[in-house]
Amino acid sequence: MSPARYLTDPQIITEVDLAILFSGGKDSTLATHMAQETDQVKCLVTLASDNPESYMFHTPNIDITSLQADSMGLPLVRWKTEGIKEKEIKDMRDALKDAMDRYGIEGVVTGAIESVYQAERVQRVADELGLWCFNPLWKMDQKKLMYEILDRGYEVVISGVFAYPMDDSWLGRTIDEDAVTELIALSKEHGISPSGEGGEIETTVLDGPLFRSRIRIKESDMEFRNHAGKMTIMAAELVEK
């Protein structure tokens, strides 16, 4: 069989209209920023999963993405998923198809760094839909990634910790230089990924260069037990910067 259809497809590739698979954490926010620098970000796509064990989409404060999208001036395509393995992939496909229909996207961007599980599934869905798929953080050095977040001026808080020997003092803590230094030390001593790529930490972005307004947390609830816990944001608002 000849790949003739690939050879004859005229493709003049310039800027690509993109959706970002957006969780509200540091990685998908940095991916959004990098995509804004090179292409056209048309919308954010969020999958709100009911399953706390989901490998693909679960994050403790997914509802904050609506405020983040407002602050960045980007439309949000928000879909619910039960988080059932493989069915959640169909949910992602439906969400991206919706983004194609509403915003004419030609590609999707993820914040994947190391997870071949996530990368493979997004690549497959993108291919089925005829979308480009970009992973600008792919294999990025995780210490470098943390400093990139700081250097770009993002305000990020830790909204979940799920690894020994992290204690409840990490919950709600802003990621600054001291925090990054401590995370790197923990990675050396205990094998924790310094960026939380292994699920050791979850983050929520409150402010940054893409944000027109800052997010202020008005009320939050902390739960912590056996080196695992989360900060659930109960109420938040946009405030002037």
Partner: protein
């Protein structure tokens, strides 16, 4: 110096982060590396002791229409490691046929012939829609359940359909050593 040849279409700036930077990281400080776009491959060949051809996104086949690249590869004399699209373009430049074959994700790979870069059975990350026949003068050095996964011409030209920069960077390190020994 190793030349890393960015095989992605020029407009796909975000792809550089995904397909080129991980190779540069794998090379690290072990030797000097310089980056070239595929349209500048002649400059790289003049300067480098070996070149690595990167992969491309699943939708990017622009490289197959790049005559400058195809001509340069067909007569290259320095060590080459073609990764995914890089392997496909080596095969195409030598008249071998491509065929549709999609593999995505971690793939079981079996070594089928002794070669300087890898041995035995291992898992590697695959992301391709095309596979290729083995060009004349080359041997298959690895396969998966679905297709030929690597080749070598017994001299200086290697190809892997899988992406060693994702989970098998020792293969890139061995290629760097090989290229250094040849210079």
């Amino acid at each position: 110096m190793i030349g890393i040849i960015n095989m992605c279409a020029r407009g796909l700036v975000l792809s550089k982060n995904e397909f080129l930077d991980p190779i540069a990281s794998a090379i690290g400080d072990s030797c000097k590396a310089e980056v070239y776009h595929r349209t500048e491959i002649q400059q790289a060949i003049k300067r480098a002791e070996g070149i690595i051809l990167t992969g491309t996104p699943l939708k990017d086949f622009e490289f197959m229409k790049d005559d400058t690249l195809l001509n340069a590869i067909s007569s290259i004399q320095i060590p080459v490691l073609g990764i995914c699209a890089g392997m496909q373009v080596i095969a195409q430049s030598l008249g071998a046929k491509s065929y549709e074959c999609m593999e995505l994700g971690m793939t079981s790979i079996s070594t089928t012939a002794e070669n300087p870069l890898f041995t035995g059975d291992f898992k590697a990350y695959s992301m391709h829609k095309l596979a290729i026949d083995i060009p004349d003068g080359f041997i298959q050095t690895a396969k998966s359940d679905m297709c030929q996964q690597a080749f070598w011409n017994g001299k200086k030209i290697f190809g892997t359909l899988f992406h060693p920069e994702v989970r098998n960077i020792e293969i890139i390190e061995k290629f760097i050593e090989f290229a250094s020994d040849q210079s």
